[in-house]
């Protein structure tokens, strides 16, 4: 007879309390706010930007922040604020789709492996994951873009591939503990098959894990996209991208630091926001881990 009352997972079906707690979490609120700013900037950029980001205005090149251009202009006289807004679009889209790819392939694989734990299939899936992990990601990204040409789409693929094992592992380990649960046994007693159980019982209960990891992968995706763009393998001009803005500003950093400062800060703050949000969400979903990581 054991005491099972202590510290049980909080019920996920209490939306009101969840919101209440969410608003109290400092890192969650701060993180969500930062993320929101950039998401909003990206959304607004579809409708309006202070200046046309493809419009080149050499006469106005490399101007520091001013009333006209709050964040200054770049070496082609483009407005940096506008570019950061449109760049947010690219960064967020690339990271988002890459996470989507990771989840779309990783989650089913993880569920499948967990449902057949110990089988050859499980072994193959997990070893396959290890193998993907073993490849140096940036090198593979370089190869992919060398084969298919640099573009935002290929950056997505390159980043997405490395998200697959992350989600597959997470899902599998989460699912494995869930498969031990009595309610899964109950579902089996009710004659439900592995596929059905995976969808009905396992998947909904790993979503918290997935959301938390998703935010973290999202932030890593933004960093990765910036890195790829920085070496010229990301979105192609004239589409602005934060990483490329940094690369282009690099030679000018000593006399036009604003060109490097603002895109760098944009990356930093977005990633920071997402990480804080991820931490906050983890605490929210799993109070046992509060303040752990």
């Amino acid at each position: 007879m054991t005491d099972l009352r202590a510290d049980h997972l909080p019920p996920s079906g209490a939306p009101v309390r969840l919101w209440g707690r969410a608003l109290k979490s400092r890192s969650l609120v701060l993180g969500a706010a930062l993320t929101l700013i950039f998401v909003l900037a990206a959304l607004v950029s579809f409708l309006w930007t202070p200046f046309d980001v493809t419009g080149i205005d050499i006469a106005n090149k490399i101007k520091g922040p001013s009333a006209r251009n709050p964040l200054g202009t770049d070496h082609f006289g483009r407005d940096i604020l506008s570019m950061i807004m449109v760049g947010a679009r690219v960064s967020i889209a690339v990271a988002f789709v890459a996470v989507g790819i990771g989840m779309a392939f990783g989650v089913p694989l993880g569920l499948w492996a967990a449902a057949r734990k110990g089988s050859l299939l499980d072994e193959v899936i997990m070893r396959g994951n290890d193998l993907v992990f073993a490849f140096p990601s940036l090198v593979i990204a370089i190869l992919i873009t060398a084969i298919f040409g640099p573009s935002a789409v290929n950056a997505i693929v390159a980043i997405g591939i490395f998200n697959i094992p992350v989600f597959a592992r997470l899902t599998r380990s989460g699912a494995l503990t869930l498969w031990q649960k009595d309610y899964v046994l109950a579902a089996r007693v009710a004659g439900k098959g592995a596929a059905r159980i995976s969808v009905e019982h396992i998947l909904p209960n790993v979503t918290n894990l997935l959301i938390v990891q998703g935010t973290i992968q999202f932030s890593l995706g933004i960093l990765a996209e910036a890195g790829l763009s920085y070496v010229g393998l990301g979105a192609q001009p004239p589409t602005p991208s934060w990483g490329r803005m940094l690369a282009e500003s690099q030679t000018m950093i000593s006399f036009a630091p604003h060109m490097a400062l603002f895109p760098g800060l944009a990356i930093l703050l977005t990633v920071l926001g997402l990480n804080l949000m991820g931490d906050g969400l983890r605490d929210l979903f799993d109070p046992k881990l509060r303040g752990r990581s």
Partner: protein
């Protein structure tokens, strides 16, 4: 232990075999002809054909794969198309920069992360904890190449404490070489240290809340003693995993940083080899890196067994 090791070794071999096929195929479909690149725009068709023959680019897929793999097994990694020197030699030279850099960065990150993580965990919830965690949040979020750029501006261009990049060579003196690796190592170590500190802290908090720590406290150990004697070693497993991952990442992942500091390391060699279509170099070096990662993971797993007696006796 032996069984454990053998099983791991077997799956290691299978992984490597699969990896070799994947790499070979990927490199095969790389567009761009090395011969054209070497001879430039005015080259004539017959000259190109002669060069291709020389480079051994004309054999069948299968025979080229076999000779590549066969060569590697006997320690022959082929000859670079562009440099015309054995790949093994080139790798050897580059490794003398990449490896020390990786070790340097890893040492730095460990030296920063361990105390920070342990301190934060032991002062959980205090201002120190919040402060350390805040800094690591920043460290994780900062793009390391941007950080590197800022460091170059400050320390190399303005203060002139360090050179802006490049590598003098070990023969020019150990300290001089270490000095030139310092900024790159810091740039690489910062995000890694942040991640490691966070993992260290959370893993330590996990073990600190384990029953056996309470048992230790009931024996009369102070908090510090319980942490050092009981929690720390148990907390090490996830930390080891991360260190393993980081090491393999650092070995190849410094590409961008190597570019910023123009260090002739392995990462930059691949980068250049890809753009020069030096296929054999790309293949062999990527394979080598994959091998390194798998081998490091293997060592990490073996070291788990050293830390944790439960693994020593076979699972």
């Amino acid at each position: 232990m032996l069984r454990y090791t053998l099983t791991r070794l077997l799956s290691l071999a299978v992984s490597l075999a699969v990896a070799s096929v994947v790499i070979f195929m990927a490199v095969e479909i790389l567009p761009g002809d090395p011969a054209t690149l070497m001879l430039g725009v005015n080259a004539q068709e017959d000259t190109l054909a002669a060069l291709r023959e020389q480079l051994g680019l004309n054999g069948s897929l299968w025979s080229r794969y076999l000779s590549w793999v066969g060569g590697m097994l006997t320690g022959d990694f082929g000859t670079s198309y562009t440099y015309r020197t054995p790949v093994a030699e080139m790798v050897g030279e580059r490794l003398w920069i990449s490896l020390p850099l990786a070790i340097y960065a890893l040492t730095l990150s460990t030296l920063i992360a361990f105390p920070a993580g342990i301190w934060a965990a032991s002062k959980r919830g205090s201002a120190a904890d919040v402060g350390v965690m805040g800094v690591t949040q920043l460290g994780v979020a900062i793009p390391n190449f941007w950080f590197a750029m800022l460091m170059v501006v400050v320390f190399a261009i303005n203060l002139r404490w360090f050179s802006a990049g490049g590598f003098p060579g070990w023969d020019k003196g150990f300290w001089l070489s270490m000095k030139s690796l310092t900024l790159p190592a810091i740039a690489l170590a910062l995000p890694q240290a942040s991640i490691l500190a966070r993992v260290m802290r959370s893993s330590l908090l996990d073990t600190l809340s384990e029953d056996f720590v309470r048992t230790a406290r009931a024996k009369g150990l102070s908090k510090r003693q319980a942490l050092w004697r009981h929690a720390l070693r148990n907390a090490l497993i996830p930390v080891l995993t991360i260190i393993g991952l980081q090491f393999s990442f650092l070995l190849a992942g410094g590409i961008i940083i190597e570019n910023v500091f123009y260090l002739p390391g392995l990462g930059r060699m691949i980068f250049q080899a890809v753009s020069a279509r030096d296929l054999i170099v790309v293949e062999s070096v990527v394979m080598l890196l994959v091998f390194a990662v798998i081998a490091v993971n293997f060592l990490v797993e073996i070291s788990y067994a050293l830390v944790d007696p439960r693994l020593r006796h076979g699972r």
